[in-house]
Amino acid sequence: MKKVLWLLVSAFALVTCFSTVTLAQTARFGEAIPLTGPYAAMAEDMKRGSMLALEEINAAGGVLGKPAEVLITDSQLKADVTIRRFKDMMDQGYKFIGGSLSGGISLVGNEFACKNKLLYMAFCHTSIPVGKEFCGYGFTSAVIPYQPASALANYAFKNFGKKWMSLTADYRWGHDNLAAWLVNSEKYGGEFLGNIYHPLGTRDFSAFIPQILAKKPDFLVVTNYGTDQASAIKQLAELGLTKKMKIVISKTHIITIKETGAAFDENVYGSSTFYWHLQDKYPEAKTFVKTFWDKYGSPPSQDGECAYTATKVVFSAMNKAGVVDDVDKVIETIVSNKWPSPKGPTEWRPCDHARLQSICILQGKGAKAKDWDVATLVAEVPYTETLESCENNKKDIPYGQVKLPGK
């Protein structure tokens, strides 16, 4: 009996070791994204973008002659589950991990990659390139939280007026955006009339409205996401605010615009790193949007584009560097080349691994929205106007130095 037991254990051990050895030659990318939880719809888009990228890579011959593999796991929007997934992947020999929709969790993933010398590619707005978060192993295929605010601020102060107020979800991403707005307000001569914090998951925004009406700003900056955003805009419209001022949303999403319905009208603006209307401007976008839409029945959102580009780049870099498990070499390759993306050639800065990409400003269509044609693209702001220098990012200047109201 004992002998049988020992035989079984050794068999298991051998099998596990052996499988790790044989797979080491295959290019693999492991992702943890919140497929369950409040952002499931957006994570689904990430999954689609990543799978499409994988298909295209393998159709073109794979990585170093062999088909590449992507493992997509559910992080449940929890940091501890994310770490468990990554630990499991590391156990199985994965050196390249990515994903995340939540900025906070992406920082956890980044820290894990730093401690274990893996490459981590986030799909979301994150502060990985900033301050003490940056360690050389983390990337993001999206932007840094302060960038959308900078993109919108210029447009808003030029076109809407100088007096502004903000409604901010009370968590780090919200604060990062608010800090950026405050800095930009100084820069463009804005008049800040006050900020209202709201807890994550607020359903009823009516209690915040009267003070906004009293102060009469030219525009209201709304910094929240997902269902909070849909509820907020719906209720701002219900209470007539969209007729009295412009609404400027730090970061929006086509799914959220759809969930908001007619309330997201021509007086509501928001930023997005990608919008499918870009197909009119970039041939690469046209191909990407068509393939994605035909395959999945809806156009790619910014999450779809981020995941797609991220996956493509990781595998392409492996191909170019000629390795599938040398993390340092792949990092080196990524930062020293330009890569094709749906928005034209894109690149990552070596000093802080920020992706040099533009940000789109969208304007709502209200009742004129039809299917997925939910917004007009009014501007595409280049990164030169939003991304701080490496020096500034390293010291978290100027946004990290802002004293937030009420904090």
Binding site: I196, P210, A230
Partner: protein, 294 residues
């Protein structure tokens, strides 16, 4: 100007607080009835709130009319509640008291996910009924029509509920069964059916809350999660088992959240827990809770 805000603001906050409180009143009164009658803490109360929102979405899509949709939504969910109680919950009354609680907890986990499966991940938009779009201006004060509607509707429903419980025969039996179900049974009433009726009234109220909230927040699968905990707090503040307490608790919390939002928005959701802690320390059974009930 008072504390930096003109007086109109305070009036508006009070009105908005009433509208907020109204939804809490609907949910807390439902929870209170269920607890009073069945001694069951319905952990899935927020789930029925969510079902009400989806039901009104479906009903409005099918009939094109918000009012018909509202009534249908409440009836459908109340019926579903009755079915759940009859087939599932009833079996657990003879077990330890927290088994029904655990069952409802399981429902609270399974049903929202089932909704994602059935309706997809993207929230469903419900438009405001055409008669209630926009606001009435009373001088500088903005009174949104839909919010006023919620307040009036809730008051109406509560009066109806009170009349039902105090004046009708069935209501009298329900009140008796809340006081002492054994005695009611001894007197020859099929108390088991009373429990089903009570449960479906309770969840029907929650569904009404959800249906009414749907135009404001859209029907989203996870919308009930926070609501469950919050309406518990309201019921505990009002006193477990007291309908009047649940109503008063809902109104108070509505005002608390409204005014905390005005002065310290980031604490508006912690405020209710602090309120609960304070009340529990001063008056452990809640405002109108019956002594010895627990």
């Amino acid at each position: 100007m008072l504390f930096g805000f003109p007086p109109e603001i305070y009036l508006m906050q009070i009105v908005f607080g009433l509208a907020l409180g109204a939804i809490y009143v609907l949910l807390a009164s439902g929870l209170s009835i269920i607890f009073g009658l069945l001694d069951v803490i319905n952990f899935a109360h927020g789930t029925f709130y969510m079902l009400g929102a989806y039901a009104v979405y479906v009903a409005v899509s099918l009939t094109g009319n918000f009012w018909i949709g509202l009534v249908c939504a409440v009836l459908i969910v109340a019926l579903f509640g009755a079915l759940t109680e009859w087939t599932l919950l009833k079996r657990l009354y003879k077990e330890e008291p927290f088994y029904p609680l655990l069952l409802t907890f399981g429902m609270a986990v399974a049903i929202p996910d089932a909704m994602k499966f059935i309706f997809g991940l993207i929230g469903k938009v419900v438009e405001y009924p055409s008669g209630l779009v926009g606001a009435i201006m009373a001088g500088p004060i903005l009174l949104p029509k839909y919010r006023l509607f919620i307040i009036v509707l809730t008051a109406f429903v509560m009066i109806l509920l009170w009349l039902f419980l105090k004046k009708s025969d069935l209501g009298m039996i329900i009140r008796a069964a809340t006081r002492d179900s054994l005695m009611v049974q001894v007197l020859g009433v099929n108390v088991s059916r009373i429990w089903t009726v009570g449960f479906s009234i309770g969840v029907g109220l929650a569904a009404l809350g959800g249906a009414v909230a749907a135009p404001m927040v859209s029907a989203v699968p996870d919308m009930g999660v926070e609501m469950t905990v919050e309406c518990f707090v309201v019921v505990v503040i009002g006193g477990l088992g007291s309908l009047g307490g649940a109503i008063l608790g809902g109104l108070i919390i509505g005002q608390v959240v409204s005014f905390v939002s005005l002065f310290a928005g980031d604490y508006s959701n912690v405020a209710i827990f602090f309120a609960m802690a304070v009340i529990l320390l001063i008056r452990p059974r809640g405002l109108f809770g019956e002594a010895g009930r627990l």
